[in-house]
């Protein structure tokens, strides 16, 4: 995404105001005028200052241009779907894998990504199976990471 600096500046200035507001509720150390709020307040003020600078710099430069536009590659169908698939893979591991299990989700996502990147099916499926098996063996069996077993509970 290409976004104009003025929008970023506005967003960061708002973030700074939000941090200042939140920090005003943090308690001080007993007997001291400052405490947990000191650094967040300084950072909040920093965000407001730099954000406003960024807005001014962009608007005063007089360059104009569109406010927000996707990058060239993202405007193609192939690029857009690839980005969706990458984000979708992470989301699937967050939302689906606790119920279904790591292994089926990983095999499915890897196969989908390979196929979209024009890998032939006869290569995509075995590599997805092997990749998942290596990940499972290395992390779940050797390093004892509790990857979700899902529907395969009792089998693995």
């Amino acid at each position: 995404m290409r976004i104009r600096d003025a929008i970023f500046g506005g967003l960061f200035a708002c973030l700074g105001l939000f941090m200042l507001y939140q920090a005003s509720g943090f308690p001080s150390f007993p007997g001291q005028p400052y405490g947990a709020s000191l650094l967040p307040s300084i950072l909040g003020a920093g965000f407001v200052l730099t954000g406003v600078f960024l807005v001014l710099r962009d608007l005063l430069s007089g360059q104009g241009g569109t406010w927000a536009a996707p990058v060239e590659a993202l405007r193609t169908r192939s690029g857009f779907v690839a980005a969706l698939l990458v984000v979708g893979t992470a989301l699937a591991h967050i939302l689906v894998s606790p119920h279904v299990g790591f292994i089926p989700v990983s095999i499915f996502c890897l196969t989908a990504l390979f196929l979209w990147f024009r890998v032939r099916v006869v290569i995509a499926v075995p590599v997805a199976l092997a990749g998942t098996a290596v990940c499972w063996f290395f992390f779940a069996s050797v390093l004892k990471v509790p990857l979700p077993r899902g529907i395969l509970v009792g089998i693995l």
């Binding site: 947990a36 967040p40 950072l43 590659a73 980005a83 990147f117």
Partner: protein, 508 residues
């Protein structure tokens, strides 16, 4: 002076089967990642961290030292073969090394890079071994005031040295520091910016954040362009002995090697600047002082010698502030400091005092990594044609899965993946719009130290800011920080005036 007992204890820590195996595997891994165009040395380190999480401290450090050093050399390989630098540190001299390869001198080009990288690397390590213990002794006298200024100096350098746009770099840095404030405040236990989430009480887990910043962004960038990417260009042939004629090159340019190794170590030791800046500066200085500056960029070996020595010397140099003060020299040492904290080792002068064997073990690992680099580098160059044909469409999805599992492993819950994805997407959008990423990770690592030393100093001085300049070293460091900021402001104002004048003179 270091005693024999400490050295033998350190050797016992290093020369075990586990550590030696880790060095070889991490070396091969670093070579592979560095040699793939588009995958950086920082990414190699980031991908290793979930695995090092499960290791003892010494093998964990060994893995990172070896992989990062190898990846920086291996970046030269696709640079010479395809004119695509494997890591940013190889970008300065890619034109020369590729032209040499096209002229049938591929072995001279890569052999020089490998041999000079090893010499530069050893130089950086020698300085690290000599300087770090001395500096640590000095740093033992430091109080919170000196550490506060050191952290501020490190963060300021990160803004001004590594980026063309200080305003955007400042915002990136604030973002990193803001992320570091999330979770329970360590001093008072107040929850900050947790929005009622139990997972966020522990703060932003460093490893998923780092994987998100350095790997997810790269994966997204690669994935959206993958189907439209041109096929890789023809690879020039690689045959014959790799090191033929290298001795002559080294004996022809001993001054260049010494000068650039010194420069690289110094640049590496500066907080915020790493191997890539060292290589660019060494190349520029080499060109300016050369007798044949017109040959640079046309396939001249001199620039190659200078920048290869500088970028590998920077690796050793960047560990000096990391080990002595706990302040990272670049994004790789920022990751290392995060790993050391996870292992319960707080980098700083007290480590030199209480567990010197760990420090000397690190030194030994550095030397070991450079020794391993020569045969591993040799075989990577020989295998390079095969390596470069590993299709990226298979590699990218596998790396993505590895990132996801690695982030999960750090929190043992999907929350790690949530963090990785969220921070990765934000980092990607920011990077696409010219915000540098390295200051975010430096801010995240140094945020805790900055806040702790600032609050301690404020309480000690009763809120009197002049106390920050009372002690001599603190005063020098404080003045250095102020001078740095003033010089940047003056430069910006001058530039603005100059461009306004140019606008006035332009005919309407």
């Amino acid at each position: 002076m270091v005693s024999f007992a400490i050295l033998s204890q350190a050797a016992e820590l290093v020369f075990t089967l586990e550590v030696l195996l880790v060095v070889i595997c991490a070396g091969a891994f670093g070579m592979f990642v560095g040699a793939m165009p588009g995958l950086t040395a920082t990414m190699a380190t980031a991908l290793l961290v979930p695995v090092t999480f499960f290791m003892d401290p010494i093998p964990a450090i060994a893995a990172i030292v070896t992989a990062s050093g190898m990846a920086i050399f291996a970046g030269d390989i696709p640079g010479a073969l395809l004119r695509m630098p494997g890591t940013p540190a190889s970008a300065a001299y890619v034109e020369d090394s590729h032209r040499l390869a096209l002229a049938g001198k591929l072995n001279l080009s890569l052999g020089t890079c490998l041999a000079v990288s090893a010499i530069g690397g050893l130089f950086g390590v020698a300085v690290l071994i000599l300087a770090a213990p001395l500096l640590a002794e000095f740093a033992l006298k430091f109080t919170s005031f000196e550490y506060f200024w050191l952290a501020t100096l490190g963060l300021s350098c990160a803004i001004f040295i590594s980026s063309g746009d200080p305003l955007k770099a400042s915002i990136s840095l604030f973002l990193g520091l803001a992320l570091a404030t999330m979770g329970l405040d360590p001093a008072s236990g107040t929850p900050r910016f947790t929005f009622g989430s139990v997972d966020l009480l522990a703060g932003i887990e460093f490893v998923p954040a780092m994987i998100g910043l350095f790997a997810i962004g790269e994966i997204l960038r690669g994935a959206i362009r993958l189907n439209a990417a041109d096929p890789l260009p023809q690879v020039p042939p690689t045959s014959g002995p790799l090191f033929a004629g290298i001795g002559r090159v080294i004996f022809r340019f001993p001054k260049n090697i010494l000068r650039s190794s010194t420069l690289g170590t110094f640049i590496g030791a500066l907080p915020g600047a790493g191997a890539d800046i060292a290589a660019w500066m060494a190349y520029a200085i080499s060109k300016r002082s050369s007798r044949e500056p017109e040959k640079y960029g046309e396939g001249h070996v001199e620039g190659l010698v200078d920048s290869s020595a500088a970028n590998n010397a920077a690796v050793g140099g960047s560990w000096i502030p990391a080990l002595v003060f706990g302040i990272p020299g670049d994004s790789i040492t920022a990751i290392v400091i995060g790993v050391l904290y996870m292992k319960g080792i707080n980098p700083g002068p007290t480590v030199f005092l209480h567990t010197p064997q760990i420090i000397y073990a690190v030194f030994m690992i550095f030397i070991l990594a450079i020794i391993v680099m020569v045969p591993l580098g040799w075989s990577t160059v020989k295998l390079a044609r095969g390596l470069l044909t590993v299709p990226r469409q298979i590699l990218l999805p596998l790396i993505l899965t590895f990132c996801i599992v690695g982030s999960f492993a750090l929190t043992n819950s999907p929350f790690g993946i949530v963090l990785m994805l969220a921070i990765g997407l934000i980092g990607w959008v920011l990077e696409e719009n010219g915000f540098p990423i390295a200051p975010i990770i430096l801010g995240l690592v140094l945020g805790g130290m900055l806040e702790r030393t600032f609050l301690t100093s404020m309480i000690k001085s009763g809120g009197d800011l002049t106390a920050f300049f009372d002690r001599p070293i603190a005063a020098v460091l404080g003045c250095a920080v102020i001078l740095l900021w003033v010089s940047v402001l003056v430069r910006a104002i001058r530039r603005r005036r100059a461009s306004a004048r140019a606008d006035d003179q332009r005919p309407a």
